[in-house]
Symmetry: C2
Subunit: 500 residues, 2 copies
């Protein structure tokens, strides 16, 4: 039995009806030419259920002792695994647009996972227009993080549309095969086992389990001293309608942008791709808050998770630390705004790099503790640790296929927490960036407008960088399809040009 | 603000992830000839959302004070009512059989309602075969009981297929109109207000709120003395695989039987319709337990809710008491089994009739208290108060239409509780009895077999009563359609015969 580390248990302890702690994703696929949708989806469902032995954590359920979640928590095999409970077949009502898909995903993401079973569900969704189908999956954050999810998705995909898989991505066989490929590509430095033992390291410094808050406080204080001019949680964080008490209902929207556009903005301002993403989101949030007449004088702060996972490491469930980025939403000039964001992100990264991976994870866990306290006291909306989460998960840089069905896009569906009613997560895929925005339905009823504002913000940055000429009025894009279709059109244009 | 009575609050206190406390129903409709499904369903959704003012409890949410659910609990208007959250549009995957419908309903019924909003959802479900569509609704048991749900359904239905409604059944206008009709038909004796004030009566006899358990114990003891040879909760209740710890996932199955068949069995044995229903269920449970090699030596006991609602009373949320019926599952001979069931049900009814409605409800609430205690101590599966629930809700005795769409059947979806993994609820409609069986997915993985066993049990009773000749092998029916189609065919035959 594998023991859960402190961060993983935190996701269980912190979960309530109002704040489910599962992460998910929606993938859009196009059916291969000539196949019948029903036959193809039935075959996929059978493939998903074709498991002799599950790879962790998909066949494991939680096991606690007499102290419940406050004592040690383990994964144990579910001896009565009921795969039909986990793999589900759903459909969209007509007319089967992305709007109907987003509605269904919003609902599916609002319900809690069953804690008496392995903590995941996967939904095959039919009824989309244009021979597309969708897969929505959800897994408890105590069991996987975003990068682990990408590994799972990658293990069932192939760059070759002719490839066919016959075992389930949830099976040990599939995991072993994928691990072999990965280890060939990125040999794992096995001496760095400390990452797996963060909880043990932490425990060794504690007198007793009950003294944990006090000890974490000492950890935090030590590291805070090293901080300097760095943005840190709770420090100078303004209040806004994004930082309210949340309930359990969600709104999900998604959209793709060409990677090249965002990367060009980063380069133009001598920043990273991630800086450009933060700047694009910052401009959108600034517009959203301005239009609601509530732009705070102080700048919004974003929690930006940073992966500590070594290449090839498939075993850690959550190898994540975080920095707090200043989004500079109080700066009107987009060039100065970008510079402020870049400086803040750089300081955060340098600070994390000064620690070992284990220290960084303990640090990030420690910083969550005041958050846990304010959340459980109902103070998170009054004393926010940060305003929103912007999470950038590296994906796959080429077109991929699932048994011949082309993956058109892959949109993350993340977590909303008490006091942080909005989460923006993005995955790079092929030539796109796929953004998934999840929001509390009550606190942010117009989440879909953020999609328009992000396009406007990107155009503003492009104009400021001299990459495009200013238009009289920026024209917002509507749905993932429109962005993707443009890319597809652009690609077709390029292809026909180069093939001549 | 209306205060919740003790029984209503009990449904909130007793709720957990594993035991949601909402009741629901699935209605099957046939689209009117010539209409387009999408247009018709979009119009229905618009009609459902067309509300100026909500009638209670559909626009109200819970309000508690500093003691939470342990203090007084009220309904208060939800000032930010978000009707699109409550009225939902769903679809079935192909091929759209009842199997796919039951799967979807099982899932929808497994998730908790959002406690920060009015406690109901209604799903319009498209994608069924044969021009049918379905409506699944769920409402918290703290807000409505089965009979109140029937009133709501009835208020949106008409016996005239040409009738059209333009306001939502959730609106005050619709409620007022329906109330007028009902009061003309069944004048309400307004002096019997005690029913609404059960909590007050109870409170008047208590010294303090915290002493409630002790006081209820005295109530119980007093009434127990009156009991005689009556079946009472906890007394002589055997253990079985139906009486286990439950988790949150459900299995739902449904089936219709002709009312006339079951009524004939009751008459043949000089019993009531309800006795015949209990006997039919008893035979099915006996078969189920025999086939699992676990038929207990002692007879199973069923909790049978009894309505205390006066005709025309639309305001009480839960006007329900209950009797404990001996199902005589240990008696092989169907005639003797029927006699034992009848005697036990009669004793229970006489016992309830010796009390005022208020006393009966307090008594039933009081009897739930030990159940609440064993449930919260995790002992419900070891000390079951009863083995299952069999609930008979009187419905509408003629064909009904919703804006021209014929109601084909109306199947209740009730509650599974800790230690009671199976609930059988039935509604009479037109010439049928519509049974809805809800079970814990893990404890009763083969719930669908109960449908076959119920048919076999009914045939056994019919043979014993001399109503039909014994067949070499009883042929079970498959799905609601088959029963309904037969009835429809029989009715068409009758109609064509009488019209000649």
């Amino acid at each position: 039995m594998k023991k859960l580390n402190l961060l993983d248990v935190g996701f269980l302890l912190n979960e309530s009806r109002e704040t489910p702690m599962h992460v998910g994703g929606v993938s859009l696929y196009t059916l291969p030419d000539g196949v019948d949708e029903q036959v193809f989806l039935t075959d996929l469902a059978e493939l998903l259920c074709n498991v002799d032995e599950f790879q962790p954590p998909f066949g494991d359920r939680l096991k606690t002792g007499p102290l419940g979640l406050l004592g040690p928590v383990y994964w144990e095999p579910d001896t009565a695994m009921d795969i039909d409970f986990h793999v589900r077949h759903s459909a969209l009502p007509q007319p089967g647009r992305y709007r109907e898909l987003f509605n269904l995903v919003s609902r599916l993401h609002s319900t809690l996972l069953d804690r008496t079973r392995p903590l995941w569900e996967m939904h095959l969704i039919e009824g989309l227009q244009n021979r597309q189908f969708a897969v929505y999956s959800k897994t408890h954050h105590a069991a996987v993080d975003g990068e682990r999810s990408i590994h799972l998705a990658r293990s069932m995909l192939s760059s070759n549309p002719a490839d066919r898989l016959f075992d389930s991505p949830f099976s040990q066989a599939s995991g072993d095969r994928y691990r072999e490929v990965l280890e060939r590509e990125h040999p794992l430095d096995l001496s760095v086992e400390e990452l797996h033992n963060v909880a043990d390291i932490l425990k060794a410094r504690l007198d007793t389990g009950v003294n944990i808050y006090g000890a974490l406080k000492r950890f935090t204080a030590t590291w805070m001293g090293r901080g300097g001019a760095l943005s840190l949680p709770f420090y100078n964080v303004p209040r806004s309608s994004i930082n309210t008490s949340v309930d359990g209902a969600r709104r999900f929207v998604a959209q793709s942008w060409p990677f090249a556009r965002v990367r060009a903005v980063g380069k133009a301002f001598d920043g990273s791709f991630n800086d450009a993403v933060l700047a694009m989101c910052s401009g959108a949030l600034r517009r959203y808050l301005q239009n609601h007449d509530e732009l705070p004088e102080k700048s919004l702060k974003a929690m930006v998770p940073v992966s500590l996972r070594r290449a090839g490491d498939l075993d850690s469930s959550n190898a994540v630390a975080s920095i707090t980025a200043d989004l500079a939403t109080n700066i009107e000039d987009p060039i100065k705004r970008f510079a402020a964001i870049r400086a803040s992100a750089l300081a955060g990264k340098e600070f994390l790099q000064s620690m070992s991976p284990a220290e960084a994870q303990v640090f990030s866990t420690a910083l969550q503790v005041p958050g846990l306290l304010t959340a459980s006291l109902g103070l998170a909306s009054r004393i926010p640790a940060f305003n929103t989460v912007i999470s950038n998960v590296p994906g796959i840089a080429q077109p991929m296929y699932w048994n011949g069905a082309r993956l058109d896009g892959s949109y993350p569906v993340s977590i909303v927490t008490e006091g942080v009613a909005l989460n923006i997560t993005l995955v790079t895929y092929d030539k796109n960036i796929d953004f998934g925005i999840i929001a509390c339905r009550r606190s942010i009823p117009q989440a879909q407008r953020l999609i328009d504002y992000m396009e406007q913000s990107l155009v503003e940055l492009e104009v400021a960088a001299g990459l495009v000429k200013p238009k009289v009025k920026a024209k917002p894009k509507a749905k993932p399809a429109s962005a993707k279709k443009k890319v597809a059109r652009a690609k077709r244009a390029t292809a026909s040009r180069t093939s001549k």
